[in-house]
């Protein structure tokens, strides 16, 4: 379990991270969302022991990031947003070097290297030079490096940046697989649709403050006070809109065209079904009746102001 307890980092008069708190369980894939300069990388670097918090701390399975950095290092895998690999060695040699640093026993190293290469789909490149790998493959090699010691927490800072769509899709599958393996994965990104696909928990940070935290569904719910239902009829959208205006739980209606209108609604799913029934009973020929759900992008835009530090 990862507990982040009032983590704060100040640079002079600038508060980069302002005492954020959250907790994650094994198997959680946490999407850390924020504009550039919001504090994502600073938080991740503090969790990776690369930056001393001004105050607060974090605990991974009881080990304190500030007081026991060496224990934390043994339990985390960190992939920076920008990184370089030793390009004059072969892929397996690169992993062998890091396996040695992480004190993987010598006799287990070959099988560990084979396993992480298989997991990251790089087995075929085992004997290739690192310099010959594409950007996507280098990204996966870096991830493979993070996995040689079987870490409990993975910190991935903008892992998909610079990748083509196929490489992104493969990376998403890989991260989802790591979550299924019971690891805590923290992924920072500002490409929101990407995170919504595979994260089960998200946090939105702006100017160092954690503005929202929770499951994707809960976070979306918190910003969506009223449901928005889009109704398509064969004809008479204006009449339909007028018909529903003022009905129980309907807060507003908008015409979108001659056959479409929107309803802002605060009732339950049962009330929603009653409303549809009343429309049909009133003779409107309804062809489509669907709830517009907000997505992470809506949440992000609603919660944040776009201010950076």
């Amino acid at each position: 379990m990862l507990e982040v307890l009032g983590l704060r980092r100040v640079y002079g008069s600038l508060i980069a991270v302002n005492g954020i708190e959250f907790a994650l369980q094994p198997g959680d894939i946490f999407g850390f969302i924020g504009s550039n300069g919001a504090g994502k990388t600073t938080t991740i670097r503090m969790l990776a022991t690369l930056l001393e918090p001004t105050s607060g701390t974090a605990r991974l399975n009881g080990f304190d990031v500030v007081k026991e950095p060496m224990e934390i290092k043994r339990r985390i895998g960190y992939m920076p947003d920008f990184f370089g690999l030793y390009d004059d060695v072969k892929v397996w040699e690169y992993l062998d070097f890091y396996s040695t640093l992480y004190e993987v026993p010598a006799r287990e190293r070959p099988s560990v290297i084979d396993n992480v290469l298989e997991l990251t789909d790089l087995s075929i490149k085992k004997d290739s030079f690192v310099s010959t790998l594409s950007r996507g493959m280098q990204q996966r090699l870096c991830l493979a490096k993070c996995l040689v010691h079987d870490p409990e927490l993975l910190l991935l800072d903008e892992p998909a940046s610079g990748l083509d769509p196929r490489a992104r899709a493969e990376l998403k599958q890989l991260i989802a697989e790591l979550g299924r393996m019971g690891k805590i994965v923290i992924v920072s990104s500002h490409i929101l649709p990407e995170l919504a696909d595979f994260c089960n928990t998200v946090g939105i940070i702006e100017r160092g403050d954690l503005m929202a935290f929770g499951s994707v569904r809960d976070v979306v719910k918190t910003i969506q006070a009223a449901k928005v239902i889009e109704v398509h009829v064969i004809e008479g959208a204006g009449e339909g809109s007028m018909f529903l205006h003022g009905k129980p739980f309907v807060t507003n209606t908008h015409m979108l065209g001659s056959t479409t209108f929107k309803v802002e609604f605060e009732g339950t799913e049962q009330d929603q079904a009653e409303m549809l029934k009343s429309l049909i009973d009133a003779g409107f020929q309804v062809t489509e009746f669907r709830e517009e759900s907000a997505d992470l992008e809506d949440v992000f835009l609603r919660v944040t102001t776009g201010a950076v530090q």
């Binding site: 690369l50 030793y86 040699e93 062998d96 992480y102």
Partner: protein
């Protein structure tokens, strides 16, 4: 103390750096283009040195070979180590080392191990031929009387000068590590190291020489900071200098141990000091206390 020794030297996973350096050196990736040209040039130079040694073994003074070794160490060690930390920063690979379960001290010692490897290679490829020359000379009756200057000090001189070259090389390596930990680019680290060595080996002894000229005998200690001056003294077994009061001529001033040993001790201490400073700089980087 014992645990620090164990932590840094007996149980240091960063010694994998030596294996990585070896792989990089032997990798076919580095056997093409400019790298290949440099290596061929080194091989040709070395073969030339060997042929010259074998052909003119009676005429070559072993200390001249030691000078070549010292000169090479001054070039090769900064070239090998300047990127140790600065290169990792420039390449953005340092973070991945710093999140591994190794301390900054272990990283510095692990990287510095490459200096030991380089010095080992220098001793094997140049120190041993010099020893061969010394052996031939020692077996030739009457050799010890040189036709100019003072007499050779035999194997004692050979090993003293070899020790001096090794200690100087270690200090050069440590200075390079320190500069590398202070800079963010390999080019900056190389320039900084060259600057530091220029000051230490040329500017300081030159100032010493000038002061010595004005106030004879006052600043020999400063002159003796130059390993290039000391090497000759170490090989010959005693220090000599011009006697300005009575015109030019060699005058035996003191046993070389008087100058060479304290300087070697000072260099060894400086080696440790620069490595400690490099570790402290890396600690600051590791905690995000620098840019």
């Amino acid at each position: 103390m014992r645990s620090a020794f164990k932590h840094l030297f007996l149980h240091n996973p960063m010694f994998a750096e030596v294996q990585r350096a070896k792989r990089s050196l032997l990798s076919e990736h580095n056997w093409r283009g400019g790298q290949l040209a440099v290596r061929l040039l080194i091989a040709v130079f070395y073969l030339f040195l060997l042929v010259m040694t074998m052909s003119f073994v009676d005429d070559i003074e072993p200390f001249l070979v030691m000078y070549i070794m010292l000169g090479l160490a001054t070039i090769v060690l900064p070239s090998t180590l300047h990127g140790a930390i600065a290169g990792e920063r420039e390449q953005r690979a340092l973070d991945m080392l710093l999140v591994a379960p190794v301390t900054p001290g272990q990283i510095v010692v692990g990287k510095f191990a490459k200096a030991l490897l380089t010095i080992g290679l220098l001793v094997a490829f140049i120190g041993l031929p010099a020893m061969f020359i010394e052996l031939v000379h020692q077996s030739s009756p009457g050799y010890a009387q040189s036709n100019y200057g003072p007499e050779s000090n035999g194997f004692v001189g050979y090993f003293t000068s070899l020790a001096l070259v090794v200690v100087t090389s270690l200090m050069i390596g440590a200075i390079t590590m320190w500069v590398s930990s202070k800079t963010k680019s390999k080019a900056g680290a190389m320039l900084g190291t060259i600057g530091a060595l220029f000051v230490l080996f040329i500017v300081v002894p030159s100032i010493g020489g000038v002061v010595n000229f004005v106030f004879p005998g006052v600043s020999e200690a400063l002159t003796s900071t130059s390993p290039f001056v000391l090497l000759y003294w170490a090989y010959m077994g005693f220090a000599d200098s011009y006697d300005y009061s009575y015109g030019y001529g060699y005058e035996e001033r003191a046993q070389s141990a008087f100058y060479v040993l304290p300087t070697m001790i000072a260099m060894a201490l400086l080696t440790v000091l620069f490595l400690v400073l490099a570790t402290r700089n890396l600690q600051k980087i590791a905690l995000g206390r620098t840019d």
